[in-house]
Subunit: 149 residues, 2 copies
DNA sequence: ATAATATAGTTGACGTCATCAACTATATTA
DNA sequence: TAATATAGTTGATGACGTCAACTATATTAT
C-alpha cells in the first residue's frame, strides 16, 4: 500500500465537501441547486438529450430526472420538445436564459478558483492542473467501488 | 487570467461529484449518509464536541445538527453526554461501533483510491498528493465566494 | 442574592426533494 | 394486428434540513 494514498483520499474528500452541496455556505449556483446545475451542464454539453440519459449520467431514477427537468423548465432554463425521431423521447434543450445563468455560474466559480490559487506560481498551477486531470481520467475509468459492509 | 484555471475548476467539480452524495451509485458509506459520515468523522477527530460545533463545521443549523446526531445515536455510533463543565452543552462522543464503521469506510475508500491510482508511478502519485494538499490548504484559507447573481 | 439576559439543545410544523409503483403514450416485434 | 417494450409522467411516500418556539442551564447586572 502506497503511503500517500490515505492522504490523497482525505484531500479529495475535503475538496469534495467544499465543492459539494454544503460548501460555499450552501450558496451553490444562484437559484439552482447543485443537482440542477449539473443537469443543466449535462444538457448544455450534449445540446439535446433524453430525460432518462440525464438520470443515468447523474445517478437518478427517471422520475427523479423528470422532476429535475420540471424545476429547470419552471425556472426557464430548459425546454422540452418531443423528439422528431421517436415520439416517446423528450429532447431537452437549454434556453438562452439557461446559457446565460450557466456562464455566470462558471464565471463565479472560475473567479473563486483563481483567487484560491492566486499565490501559486505558474508551474505549480500547471502541476495542480495536470494532477487533477490525471485523477479525473483515472476516476472515469469507472473502477468498481465495493460498497458492501 | 491563467489559462489553466477553468480546467482546474472543471476537474474539481468532476471529482467532487464523484466523491459527493451521488457518486458511487449513491452507495456512500454503509448505513451512513455522506452528511452523517462527515459528522462522525468530525466527532472522531475532536474526541468530544458540542452539537452546535458540528453544525458550524458542516454548515448546518443547530437543529439540523441535532437531527444528524439523533440519527447517528439511533444507529449506535455516537453517545450524548452532558458536559461536566457546562450543563447546557451536550458532548458527543463516538462509540466503539462508531470507530469500527469509520475504519471500515475509510478502508473501502482508500482501497478505491488505490485501485484508481494503480497504474501511476510513485512520483506521479507523489505529485498528485502534493497538488491536492496545496489545494486543500488554499481552500481552507477561506477566500470569500461571491454568491450573488 | 436575584432578576434579567444569554446560550445550548430540542421539538413540532413545514417545505423540498428523490423514489417507487402505477399509469399514458408511442414504438417495435411476432 | 396483437403483444410487448420503452420513454416519460404522476400520486403517494419517506428522508431530510430549516424555522420558530420552547426548555434548561449559565452568566451578568443591580
Amino acid at each position: 500500500m502506497e503511503k500517500r494514498i490515505p492522504d490523497i483520499y482525505n484531500s479529495l474528500q475535503e475538496l469534495s465537501w467544499q465543492f459539494g452541496d454544503h460548501g460555499f455556505n450552501g450558496e451553490c449556483c444562484g437559484d439552482l441547486s447543485l443537482v440542477e446545475y449539473m443537469a443543466l451542464k449535462k444538457i448544455l454539453n450534449t445540446r439535446s438529450i433524453p430525460i432518462q440519459e440525464i438520470g443515468i449520467a447523474l445517478n437518478f431514477t427517471k422520475s427523479g430526472a423528470t422532476r429535475i427537468i420540471d424545476r429547470l423548465e419552471q425556472k426557464g432554463y430548459v425546454l422540452r420538445e418531443q423528439s422528431p425521431v421517436d415520439g416517446r423521447v423528450c429532447c431537452v434543450t437549454v434556453t438562452p436564459r439557461g446559457v446565460e445563468i450557466m456562464s455566470k455560474i462558471i464565471e463565479k466559480y472560475t473567479k473563486y478558483v483563481q483567487d484560491i490559487l492566486e499565490e501559486f506560481k505558474p508551474e505549480q498551477i500547471e502541476q495542480i492542473g495536470n494532477s487533477l486531470e490525471m485523477l479525473v481520467k483515472a476516476v472515469q475509468k469507472n473502477k468498481p467501488f465495493d460498497s458492501s459492509f
